[in-house]
Amino acid sequence: MKLDMHCEMILDEYRERLPLFEQIKNLVLEKLRTCFKENNVVVAGLEARIKTEKSLAGKLELKGYKYRTVDDITDIVGVRIITFFSDDVDIVSALVEKMFEIDWANSVDKRKMLEIDRFGYMSLHYICRLPQSMCTDPAAPELNQVRFEIQMRSTLQHVWANMQHDMGYKTDVEIPAEYQRNMSRLAGMLELADEQFSRIRREITDYRRNVQSLVASGNFDEVHLNGDTFRSYCELKPFQRLANKIAAINQAEMYEDSMMPYYNVLMHMGMKTIGDVERMRVDCSDGAYQLALIQLAGTGLDIVAYSVALQNLCIVQILKQGFGQAGLERLFIALYGETAYNTQRAARIFEQAKKINLI
């Protein structure tokens, strides 16, 4: 590739500035990672690259006349943020706007550039600078002078862009109408799929909110038992009082473990609604405490898991329903799988339950 003197000069500037570009790339990535973490934003991908000399030379060969110096080329440092959902592109762009200085004159929202009768699948491109406050390295005072590009797109937009790139398809190249039409159909399908994913996510969020409010309002019989509803119910700490009482037997420390392993157990026990779980809690709490009392009193064991409350509630419910030792063994199999301990544990608890008239 033969470049004129002006372009060679820009290439020399590029080579000189490579360490600075590297520093900017790393700083931008670090700031974005921290920002996403602080704002609980989960992205599908965060990547950055520095334009290779070969790629830059190609660009200069085509339109080197447009650039006065290397500073006029805004995509030497390029960062790409890939979100799971198209909705999230706006969230991520808002964060980017807060963090960096945006060169609005050169930034483009390619999502809005398409004519209404055409399909395509584009991303949001910002040309940015590091704000002075981030440029604290005295050895690199020009850190905030260099512009860099941040591209933001959804995963499906990313798929589209990569496929397009791989096939060498560019909108400014004349291609047969047949291929053009097929590409447009695909773009339309991906755009619809992206919208549907976002819609489904919104609906699931709404469903969870609805369930949470039903649970919080105490309409337990109207709430079907499933993983989500059980989690919402557990967030109300329904077993806290019983767990505290059990812990008080030995003035024990309580370890807050998850109740979720019990979700399958409750399903095995035939519970259909959160109301069924709540009834067990109300009806079996005394028995569950009595069982803990006979087991823990005098042992000096001063740490208990929070789940011991639900464990004992299930045991008492099974015994009250008349499922006996075999029922207890099935409970332990549901909890821990087939182990040699289940039979002896069921037998031991069955004997303890007899002593305190649970059966």
Binding site: D257, P261, L301, I303, A305, Y306, V308, L335, Y341
Partner: protein, 100 residues
């Protein structure tokens, strides 16, 4: 409390024997300290000869389990005698630690 730790086929085998209580909990904590620095440890604790564990022991097993999980590893305890297993059961620790 006697503790032996050995490695075989990328697995760490720990054998416990005797009582684990306040008198030897500090020593046990030192014995297992190295296990808490391993990356993705696969720990198998044989309790055949462990005769008792106090709450202090439960706390140390819990601490070890947390460390193992945070390092992307796994831990199982096996061959507990009925007395030791009962301690895990009545405190709810059987729900936290994998016992086979």
């Amino acid at each position: 409390m006697d503790v032996t730790i050995s490695n075989q086929d990328n697995k760490i085998f720990v054998t416990l024997s005797g009582r684990l209580d306040t008198t030897n909990a500090d020593q046990f904590q030192q014995d297992i300290a190295s296990l808490m620095e391993c990356d993705k440890p696969d720990i198998d604790i044989d309790c055949s000869d462990m005769s008792y564990t106090s709450s202090q022991g439960l706390r140390l097993f819990l601490m070890l389990q947390k460390s193992v999980l945070s390092h992307g590893g796994k831990m199982v305890m096996r061959n507990m005698n009925p007395q030791v297993k009962e301690v895990f059961d009545i405190t709810g620790f059987s729900n936290i630690i994998t016992i086979i």
